[in-house]
Subunit: 216 residues, 2 copies
């Protein structure tokens, strides 16, 4: 029977509660643990020398994270429960068990693909970034047609490389366009096809040619 990483963490790890805002690890810390989110939401981020903050990822229930520890910091966005397992233990296990080794590799590969997609988000227009972000979140939470954002606007902004004002404006703009509705500031009822269309539309228009109907 193959050992599944997620299960291993549950069997071998301890569950620790982190209150809203609590630090899980810091950039300066040695990377000692891997984590699985049992409940709540986590942000992984880096603070640049100029004081700005870049959020590298949001981790939701079920996600495993901590691979980027040592480079990034992590904090609980909401009250959270985390399963923790020592990296040492996993690496030792991987040395004896190929399944585990392979899954550590897979996990890293998945993370790599995630960051590559993040790059693709960051080169687009504000509208496309926000639309892309909403689609990403919609894919990750079960509920159909509606998302409850666990993070404040500032976190969204720092994830997308925008300002909080631009995020806010863009959301109302998307609402006016009919791509989403905002019953409350954190709840987003979305029209997936409309959001997809925005991404297909090419924010700064395809140079030269037709370039119609962007931003109204």
């Amino acid at each position: 029977m193959m050992k599944v990483l997620a299960n291993l963490i549950e069997e071998m790890g301890a569950t620790i509660p982190f209150p809203r805002g609590a630090a899980i690890y810091r950039e300066s810390d040695p990377a000692s643990y891997l984590y699985k989110v049992a409940a709540g939401t986590v942000r992984s981020f880096k603070t640049l020398n100029n004081g700005r903050r870049q959020i590298g990822a949001f981790y939701l229930p079920g996600d495993i994270f901590g691979l980027e520890a040592g480079e990034f910091s992590a904090e609980a966005i909401t009250d959270a429960k985390l399963l923790m397992i020592e990296r040492k233990a996993l690496v030792a296990l991987a040395a004896r068990d190929n399944d585990v080794a392979h899954q550590l590799w897979s996990l890293t590969s998945r993370e790599l693909r995630r960051v590559q997609n993040h790059v693709l988000l960051l080169i687009q227009s504000a509208q496309e970034r926000v639309a892309g972000f909403l689609l990403e979140m919609a894919d990750r939470v079960p509920a159909g047609g509606e998302i409850e954002l666990p993070m404040p606007r500032q976190d969204v902004a720092d994830y997308l490389g925008l300002t909080i004002e631009t995020v806010s404006r863009t959301l109302t703009h998307l609402e006016r366009r009919g791509a989403i509705t905002l019953p409350t500031s954190r709840r987003v009822v979305h029209c997936r096809s409309a959001l997809n269309q925005i991404n297909a539309e090419s924010g700064w228009q395809l140079r030269g040619t037709t370039g119609q109907a962007c931003y109204q």
Copy 2:
């Protein structure tokens, strides 16, 4: 004696020449090989639905690449010689040899860190992006104080999420500032400390007040 991945590729792989501009693999291809650059330069990129192109990485002699195959395409920027090895063969070897498994993981982790740094580049101002790019290249090629860029401006632009005009203007701007000299358009004599200073300067300054403890 531990098996070193780079050596394995050389021992087990075949050397293939690729002329300037030749495709190495395409996004649609199955990811069958890992490559090591013996000579020349390679670009890995993705073409977005709107026609724009994002370059994910440049690979120089000595670099191993191909992990992102299946998601990205790769082309030779200059005439290149590549060592190729089947992924299958490596994965099979990894199943028996922990060293190999561990190195495949390390390679992926390094790539992950590289892409994370790319994200940090992309959220900065044009000047910082170009300065950061030059510093990155300077770190990767041996010669001290001078770089020979193997890629055209368009590639630099697509790597940095800028237009070719902005890259060009920014380079002349850096030259006027005294951070670099451009004997020819592809050769860059750089002053590392000046470039570093530009990055420290924070293109867009920290907003608001003292930059204390926002986000709790």
